[in-house]
């Protein structure tokens, strides 16, 4: 029994198209997986990628507290043991 050459060619074409489509899907999926793996590895290992949520640059709270305390800190006074050379008058 002879097969119809035209039908055989169509079957081969359909099979080839299926393989090509599967190959495209496979390549796309592999690409996505490769990209995601690369990103997550970079996120975890490259210094430029923050592992925490980004925050505005600011002095640490402790530092700010120290600066504020110093801004309103006492000077050093002692009893006068000589005549005054200057005066603090009302301003």
């Amino acid at each position: 029994m002879e097969t119809d050459p035209r039908r055989a060619a169509d079957a081969r074409m359909a099979s080839a198209r299926l393989r090509a489509r599967n190959a495209k899907i496979g390549l796309t999926a592999a690409g996505i997986a490769f990209f995601a793996a690369g990103m997550s590895l970079a996120h975890g290992n490259v210094a430029g990628h923050s592992r925490r949520q980004a925050r505005p640059l600011a002095a640490p709270r402790r530092f700010q507290e120290v600066v504020r305390r110093d801004a309103l800190d006492a000077g050093l006074l002692a009893p006068a043991e000589a005549p005054p050379r200057a005066s603090t008058s009302v301003s």
Binding site: R68, D70, A71, L72, D73, A74, G75, L76, L77, A78, P79, A80, E81, A82, P83, P84, R85, A86, S87, T88, S89, V90, S91
Partner: protein
Amino acid sequence: MAEKTFPAMGCEVVVAGADAPGVKAIRRLFADRDRAFSRFRPESELNAVNRAAGRPTVVSAAFAALLERSLAIAAETDGLVDPTVGGALEALGYTRDFALMGDDPAPADPPRQAPGWERVGLSGRVLSMPAGCALDLNGVVKSATVDDAVALLAGDGFVSAGGDLAVRGPAVVSLPDGGAVAVVRGGIATSGSGKRRWRRAGVMHHHLVDPATGRSAETPWEAVTASGVTCVAADVAARAGFLAGAGGPDRLDRWGIPGRFVALDGAIVVNDAWAAMLGEPVCT
């Protein structure tokens, strides 16, 4: 130790311990700051900024630095020392250099409450504040300039501007209503209602304004003297102590700052920190 005096910022500046080039540099420093921050010079940066209230403005780096410091001080003093009292001072009639002011038969404008330091936004050099808001940075500018001037001294000495004083090396300083104290480190300043005051329609006003009311503060004190690690710290503490009224001595004690309070009746009260540092009884 040679002393030089010159007028600046509406008061007399005394410089001790500087050579001629040092005095020249200090004089230039005061002149530059006065040009930038005076409320009484129409061309000053401060007045340009006040005229631009209501829209974002780019200010100079020096202006931003001092304003940032003023806002931090306002936060630290719970708004007692507020840089947005410029409009309140104008309403009370303090519109020109004090030397040019006299009693005026016309009444002052209605009191203008300070808009509040929280409404001033400063991001880098970009300033935004509500329309009608007027800054007055005089207090911080004068005392900061005294601190910067002392840093220019080559050796021991002091710089004083209208009673705000900072030292390098000890200096004995006379106090309001008698007495003296040795300032060993930092600065000392006195704030009060005795000098910068004026009458409008027979009503007495002074320059220490309560930001909450826009009126000259009514307190039991004639003058408050405070010590600070810098002249700015001393000046801020003295003003806050004055504006805090009867609670002034306790307020300064909470900050650990020595304060000496001259009451309106002439009585002198010192807070615990002053007594502890100088060995004086709390009331004299």
